[in-house]
Amino acid sequence: MSTADLECVDLTKQFGNFTAVDDVSFTVPAGSFFSILGPSGCGKTTIMRMIAGFLEPTSGDILIRGRSVLDVAPNKRPVNMVFQHLALFPMMNIEGNIGYGLRRRGLAKPEIARKVDEALERIGLPGIGKRKVDELSGGQKQRVAIARCMVMEPEVLLLDEPLGALDLKLREHMKIELKTLQAAFDTTFIYITHDQSEALVMSDQIAVMNEGRFEQVGTGRELYYRPETAFVAGFVGEANRWRGRVTRAEAGELQLATEAGLTFAGTDHGRGLAVGDQAEIFVRPEAIRIAHAEGDVAHLENRMTGRVTSLLFNGAASRAMLRPETGGDEIEVTLPQSGEFADLGRDDTVHIGWEGAQANAFSAGGS
């Protein structure tokens, strides 16, 4: 295996007493799409600005292709950045923008013109070189901002929530397009976002970040099905959550009693919860079976009967909110797409159930 394109070692950044990035280490293999996902203020922008060279780490090291870049000024680093609001130069036309970095390298004019044309071709916008920045649509600006970096043939391309300013429809479209562009340019992308669907759709690897630390690094699939911390379980995907106490623990199979008095079977995926521990339990709405007849859910370890309090129609992702007969919080359940529950109405009584293996329990600290 070749050396990684980007490696961060024990990276820490403090602003006064506040630790924005707390001892973060990660490695990004060449040619991959790596996302950092986290809520705003979690420190992801700080990491990105340290990689680009606009912030100096308090401690730790950043290596690109195996060489430390800490002493390299931002204008000499082999990384380029697509800024949050793109930062296209309004005082230049599109050609001027894409050719800017090449001019800095002192390339000959005809060569710059050739490379700019190639890049415009590549992003599917040939012939717009003479236009002004504000004559382009949001999606076109996006592509120009990427082209402006890609002509520099950087070893790593940083993208700082570049889709944030686009409307929903365009954002969905650009997700696919970004992934295609990444494959076409065959460059390592580091992408930061607070939008989980952007990260899940595009990335080879995702790091979930919270309060300056990486909670978990893995593929989208791993984060979704095997969250390692309560934060990841709650942040990636939807989940019903309960707090409770472990009443029995046998080889990872747990029995839990919630504060509202419900009893659940669950699992801790080897996190070693013991009897008496406080736990947080997460169950995804789509992991819950719903049935008209009680017998249809009889084989599941956790079962409940509930009354429908509201229906949230959203096409393929339609859900029902149920209030359990036994009391406690409302439970969110995804409705199957078979049409079987198309006529479900408010106040209908239904039966639900889920496997113990689908109830993910995390230590909530203390006891």
Binding site: G53, Q84, P90, Y100, R104, C149
Partner: protein, 285 residues
Amino acid sequence: MQAGAKLGFILLISPLVLWLGLLIVIPHVDMFLVSIRERIGVGQYQTSFANYMAFFGEPLYIITFIRTAMMSILATVITLLIGFPVAFYIAKIAKGRLQSALFLLCLVPFWVSELVRTFGWMILLRETGLISKFLQWSGLADQPVEMLYNDVAIMIGLVYTSMLFMVVPLITTMESLDDSVIEAGYDLGGNGASVLREIIIPHAMPGIVSGSIVVFMLSLGNYLTPTMLGGKDSLWFTELIYSQFIVRFNWELGAAFGFMLLFLSSVIVWGTLKLTGQTLKSTMG
């Protein structure tokens, strides 16, 4: 509603028309008419360009005219060069409280009458003034040094008096430049000089142009600073106008001088706008 809108329009446009008509347009037309009449007897006039001929026939007038223009352009350039780094510091480097404090500090001197500012420079520069005393005390000079009544003193005064009108538009335009645009310039391999040349200056252009126009106008039309700091022989064109009007009571020639000054300022302002591709509306409005 239609009639109401029409009435409202008439009520709103009347003050504008009265103001511009009675105080700007007609007075200038009248001044032009006065400048092209020649007194041929008591209370008798004829139309002629004699006053303009008088201007072009007298080298002293022409020299004063050209000198005033050149000095004003020089003052504008110096003000821009001194003010630009300060404006950049306030707009992009200072943050928060420091930024607002520095901005206010820039404004304060200019809420004070130009007369007071000029007076301050007189106290500093004259033979018995502070700088002369300081030079003697420090041994750099062995007798009183007169620093008033020369072109350098005029230049110091003009630059000082105009500084605000350069710095404020520069700060305003540069504040609107997003930091990330400058960072993008560096990220793509630019250095200080190229970012300044290709990004910051083009972005600040409207501010540079409007600041320069105002500073140039203020210098060209200044009377106080050249008279007080430059003395009797400062050869400033406004002094000629003043003396024709108030001292010699030759309004015809004075009006012609006024028109030459207006012509000069219009040509230079128009030329600057054309050269930089700006419009009066974009830089002033």
